[in-house]
C-alpha cells in the first residue's frame, strides 16, 4: 500500500509542475505593462516604479518563475494589487461561500441524477429511458447563464417568489440564505445532473450485464434487491471517481452562476480579478482551482485503491 501511495504521489508531481508552469506563463503573457495597466487614471511615475518592484517585473522571466514558485510553496501567493490584502486570505475567505453553493448544487444534481439514472438503466429502452436520456441531454444543452436569467425573470421579477440575487451568510440569516441559494443551485446542479445521469446510466447498464449480477438473479433474488443492493454500489464507483471532474465542473459553473446571482464567492472572484487585471489574484484563483482538482483526484484514487485491492496491484502501463 505504501509503495502504491508513494508511486501515485510521485506521478502527481509532474502534473503539479506543469500546472504551476501554465499558471505562471498565463499571467506573464498578458500584453501591456502590468503596472500601468493596473493603476488607472491618476498615476505618477513614482507609483509605477513602486508597483513594478512589488510585482517583481524588473527581473528576467525564469528568475521570476523560481522566486514565484518558492513563495507559492511557502503559502505566499502575493498580495492583491487592488486592495493590498494577501491573496491567500481572500481566497480562503471566499471559499466557504462557494463551498455552500457547491454542496447545495451537488445535492440538487444527485437528487435528479441518481433516481434518473437508476430508472433509465433499469427500465432500459422504455419510455422512462428515452425521457431520461432526453432530459439529461436537454440539461447539458441549456446554457446555464440563460437558465439563470430566465429563472430570475420568472421567479423574482415576474412573480416575486424569491429574491433576485445577492448573498447573506447562513449564520446571519439562514432563511434568507437558503432562499437565495435556490435558483443558483438549480442552475448549477442541473448541468451537473445531466452529466452524472448519463454516466450513471451507462455504468449501471454495464454492471447489470456482468456475471456477478446474473448469478444473483439466478439465485432468485428479486429484481429490485439486485439492482439497488448489488448493482448500485458498483455503479456508483465511477460517479464517485469522477469527483474531481465534478468539482471542476462546479468551479467552472460557479463562475457564471455567481456572476449572475451576485454571490461573492470564488467564481465571482475569478471573473472580477480577470477583468480588472489583478494579476496576483488571478494567479491565486487559477492555481487554487487546479490544485483543488488535482488533490481531489489524488484523494479519490487513494480511497478507490484502498477499497479495491485489484487496482493497487495493477501495473501502470509503462
Amino acid at each position: 500500500m505504501s509503495r502504491f501511495l508513494a508511486r501515485r504521489l510521485l506521478l502527481t508531481l509532474p502534473v503539479l509542475f506543469f500546472v504551476s508552469l501554465i499558471v505562471f506563463s498565463l499571467i506573464s503573457l498578458i500584453p501591456g505593462d502590468p503596472a500601468r495597466v493596473f493603476l488607472g487614471e491618476e498615476v505618477t511615475t513614482e507609483a509605477l516604479e513602486v508597483l513594478r518592484k512589488q510585482l517583481g517585473l524588473d527581473r528576467p522571466v525564469h528568475i521570476r518563475y523560481l522566486y514565484w514558485l518558492g513563495r507559492v510553496v511557502r503559502g505566499d501567493l502575493g498580495k492583491s494589487v487592488r486592495d493590498g490584502r494577501p491573496v491567500l486570505d481572500t481566497l480562503l475567505q471566499k471559499l466557504p461561500t462557494t463551498m455552500e453553493l457547491a454542496v447545495t448544487s451537488l445535492i440538487v444534481a444527485w437528487a435528479i441524477a441518481i433516481p434518473g439514472g437508476l430508472l433509465a438503466a433499469w427500465k432500459r429502452r422504455s419510455a422512462w429511458d428515452y425521457a431520461a436520456t432526453t432530459v439529461s441531454l436537454a440539461g447539458i444543452s441549456i446554457p446555464n447563464f440563460w437558465l439563470g436569467i430566465m429563472l430570475i425573470y420568472l421567479l423574482a421579477v415576474n412573480q416575486r417568489l424569491l429574491p433576485p440575487s445577492g448573498y447573506v451568510e447562513p449564520w446571519v440569516d439562514l432563511g434568507r440564505n437558503l432562499r437565495l441559494m435556490v435558483m443558483p443551485s438549480i442552475v448549477l446542479g442541473s448541468a451537473l445532473a445531466a452529466l452524472v445521469m448519463r454516466l450513471l446510466r451507462s455504468s449501471l447498464i454495464e454492471v447489470l450485464g456482468t456475471d456477478y449480477v446474473r448469478t444473483a438473479h439466478a439465485k432468485g433474488l428479486n429484481d429490485r434487491v439486485v439492482v439497488v443492493k448489488h448493482a448500485m454500489k458498483n455503479a456508483m464507483i465511477p460517479v464517485v471517481t469522477i469527483m474531481g471532474l465534478q468539482l471542476s465542473g462546479l468551479l467552472g459553473g460557479a463562475v457564471i452562476t455567481e456572476t449572475i446571482f451576485a454571490i461573492p464567492g470564488f467564481g465571482r472572484l475569478a471573473v472580477d480579478s480577470i477583468l480588472t487585471r489583478d494579476y496576483p489574484m488571478v494567479q491565486g484563483v487559477v492555481l487554487f482551482a487546479a490544485l483543488a482538482v488535482v488533490l481531489t483526484n489524488l484523494f479519490v484514487d487513494m480511497v478507490y485503491a484502498f477499497l479495491d485491492p485489484r487496482i493497487r496491484l495493477e501495473e501502470r502501463p509503462a
Binding site: 500601468r36 495597466v37 488607472g40 487614471e41 491618476e42 505618477t44 513614482e46 516604479e49 513602486v50 440575487s165
Partner: protein
C-alpha cells in the same frame, strides 16, 4: 374654560412633538450603503479608485470641505489666509481634535501628511496634486503655513478631497503602506472591518470634535457591481441609500412611493479621445467632419434617457465656468458641413476609424449609436472592446485612434481641464499640444478672480472647439436614491455621500 385651555395646551404639545419627531435627529441605528464597486484601497494617499472616496468622507476629516454650492467651507482648518500673490496659505487649525487612535491633531500632523504625499520613495498617488508645495512650516501647535512654488487657485479645492484628508501620523508611521488595512483618521466614524467584495464597516467615534455628528451608530458599505441587484436591494429594504442609478430605472424610481430620488448635475464629463498624432484623425478637417456628423442630443436620449445632459465642454452645469458659450452651446448635427470637411480633408468618400471602448453596456451603446450616425457620410467605425487598464496603457503608448473615456470630475474647473490638454499632461491622452492653450491654462491657475479665469477659459474652449482633440458628448447627472428611513441627507454635486449628520427613522 380652564379645561379647554388645558386641552389646547396638550393638543399643541402633541402636535408640536409629532411634527418635530420627524425633524429631530435620532441617535442610533445602522446605515446600509450600496456602492457601485468594491473600494480597493483605504489609504487616501494611495487610493486611485473613485469609489474609495465614498468611504473616506466619513472616515477621514479633511482640512476643508465643500458645501452644496461647491463652496469651500472649514473642517479641520477653521480659517485661512492666502498671501504672497497666492503662493502662501496659512491655516488656523481646529483645537481639541484627536485621531481615532488618540493621537492629537495639530500642525505637526499636517506637516507629516504632506511629507508623506510628497515622499517619492513612498510613491503616493496624490503627488501630482500637491507637487507645487515647496514647504510646510509649523508656526505653532494650531497654525501651519504651506508654501507653493507658484500661485495655484485650485489649491483649496484639492484640499477638499483626498489630498486634504488627514491620516494619523502614529498609525501611518507604524504601518507604512499597510495603512490601507487599518486606516486611522479623524472623522466621525472609525474603521471596524473590511471584507473584500462583501462589506466595509464603520462605527461612531465618540471623541469626534463635532458633537452634532455621528447620529447613526454604524455604517455598512456593501458593493454591488450589478446595478439591478443594487436597486433591488434598496427596494427590498436591505439598503438605505445607493449611488448611481441606471438610466432606464429613473422613471420607475421617481414614481415609487418607497424610494426618494435625488438629482443634481454632476461634475464629470464623457466623450471621445482623439489621437491627434496618428492617422486618420491627425487631420483637423476630418476631426471636424466626424464632429459634425454626430448628434449629441440623440446619444443622450437613446442611451441614457434623461439621466445625462448633452454637452460640449468640460464644465457641467453647476460650475461657475459652465455658461461660457463655447462650453455650453450644443452644435447641431450638420451632414453638409461634415461632407464639406471630408472633402477639405481629402477624403470625400469617408474613411475608416477604430473606436476603442471599455466593457460595459453604456459605452458600447454610445459607440454603436455614433457608428450608425457617422456611417451616413461614409465614416466607417470599427468598435473594439478593450479592458479599462489595457486601454490606459494603449493611451500612453499612443496606440489608438479614438476611444470613449471620460472623467469623474472635480469641483474646481482647473482639475477638469488642465492635465488633459496641457502639453505633456499626465492625462493628455490625445497628445495634443498648443502653446497658446498651455499659456492660458497656466494663467487660469494663477489668476485669482472668477471673472479673470472665465475669460481665460473662454479663449481656451474656443480653440479646443476648433482643434477638437476631444469630442465632449455629455455630462452625467448625479443621482442618489434613498430608502424611506434615511433623513437629513444633503446632496452635494460631487457625488460623495456625506453621512455625518444624517439619521434614521425607525
Amino acid at each position: 374654560m380652564k379645561r379647554a385651555v388645558l386641552f389646547g395646551i396638550i393638543a399643541v404639545l402633541i402636535v408640536t412633538s409629532v411634527t418635530f419627531a420627524g425633524a429631530a435627529p435620532r441617535r442610533g441605528g445602522t446605515l446600509r450603503v450600496g456602492l457601485n464597486a468594491d473600494p480597493p484601497n483605504m489609504d487616501p494617499h494611495q487610493s486611485t479608485a473613485a469609489v474609495d472616496r465614498q468611504v473616506f468622507q466619513n472616515l477621514f476629516d479633511k482640512l476643508v470641505d465643500l458645501n452644496q454650492d461647491l463652496e469651500i467651507v472649514p473642517m479641520l482648518a477653521t480659517s485661512w489666509t492666502i498671501s504672497d500673490g497666492g503662493r502662501t496659505y496659512t491655516f488656523r487649525l481646529r483645537p481639541n481634535v484627536v485621531f481615532h487612535d488618540g493621537t492629537a491633531f495639530n500642525a505637526e500632523a499636517v506637516k507629516y501628511n504632506f511629507e508623506r504625499m510628497l515622499d517619492r520613495s513612498f510613491g503616493s498617488n496624490r503627488f501630482g496634486e500637491v507637487n507645487l508645495v515647496t514647504g510646510v512650516t509649523v508656526v505653532d501647535d494650531l497654525t501651519v503655513r504651506i508654501a507653493l512654488e507658484k500661485a495655484y487657485s485650485p489649491f483649496l479645492a484639492v484640499l477638499s478631497d483626498r489630498a486634504g484628508m488627514m491620516v494619523s501620523p502614529t498609525a501611518a508611521r507604524r504601518l507604512g503602506r499597510d495603512f490601507a488595512r487599518e486606516p486611522v483618521g479623524a472623522g466621525p466614524y472609525k474603521f471596524v472591518e473590511k471584507r473584500p467584495q462583501e462589506r466595509i464597516v464603520l462605527e461612531r467615534f465618540d471623541r469626534h470634535w463635532d458633537r452634532t455628528a455621528g447620529n447613526v451608530e454604524r455604517i455598512i458599505y456593501r458593493p454591488f457591481t450589478d446595478e439591478n441587484a443594487r436597486l433591488a436591494n434598496l427596494r427590498a429594504d436591505e439598503l438605505d441609500i445607493i449611488d448611481q442609478l441606471p438610466a432606464r430605472d429613473v422613471p420607475a424610481v421617481r414614481t415609487d412611493a418607497k424610494t426618494r430620488l435625488l438629482e443634481r448635475s454632476g461634475l464629470g464629463w464623457q466623450g471621445m479621445w482623439i489621437n491627434v498624432t496618428a492617422a486618420p484623425l491627425n487631420n483637423k478637417a476630418l476631426r471636424q467632419a466626424l464632429n459634425a456628423a454626430i448628434d449629441r442630443r440623440t446619444i443622450a436620449r437613446v442611451v441614457f434617457g434623461e439621466t445625462v445632459t448633452p454637452g460640449n465642454g468640460p464644465f457641467p452645469p453647476g460650475m461657475f465656468t459652465h455658461n461660457i458659450p463655447a462650453n455650453s452651446r450644443l452644435p447641431e448635427r450638420n451632414l453638409d458641413l461634415a461632407r464639406q470637411k471630408l472633402r477639405e480633408g481629402g477624403q470625400p468618400n469617408g474613411f475608416a476609424l477604430t473606436l476603442k471602448v471599455t466593457p460595459g453596456r453604456e459605452p458600447q451603446q454610445v459607440a454603436q449609436v455614433i457608428q450608425s450616425m457617422v456611417t451616413e457620410v461614409g465614416i466607417r467605425v470599427n468598435i473594439e472592446i478593450v479592458e479599462f487598464g489595457t486601454l490606459l496603457a494603449q493611451h500612453d503608448a499612443g496606440r489608438f485612434e479614438a476611444s470613449l473615456l471620460g472623467w469623474s470630475g472635480r469641483p474646481d474647473p482647473d482639475a477638469n481641464i488642465y492635465g488633459f490638454f496641457v502639453t505633456g499632461g499626465a492625462l493628455n491622452n490625445s497628445k495634443y499640444s498648443n502653446s497658446r492653450v498651455d499659456t492660458l491654462l497656466d494663467a487660469a491657475r494663477i489668476l485669482t478672480t472668477a471673472e479673470q479665469r472665465r475669460r481665460a477659459y473662454t479663449e481656451i474652449m474656443t480653440i479646443l472647439n476648433d482643434d477638437l482633440p476631444y469630442l465632449f458628448l455629455y455630462w452625467p447627472k448625479e443621482y442618489k436614491t434613498l430608502g424611506p428611513k434615511l433623513q437629513g441627507f444633503v446632496h452635494v454635486p460631487d457625488g460623495m455621500m456625506r453621512l455625518r449628520h444624517v439619521w434614521l427613522n425607525p
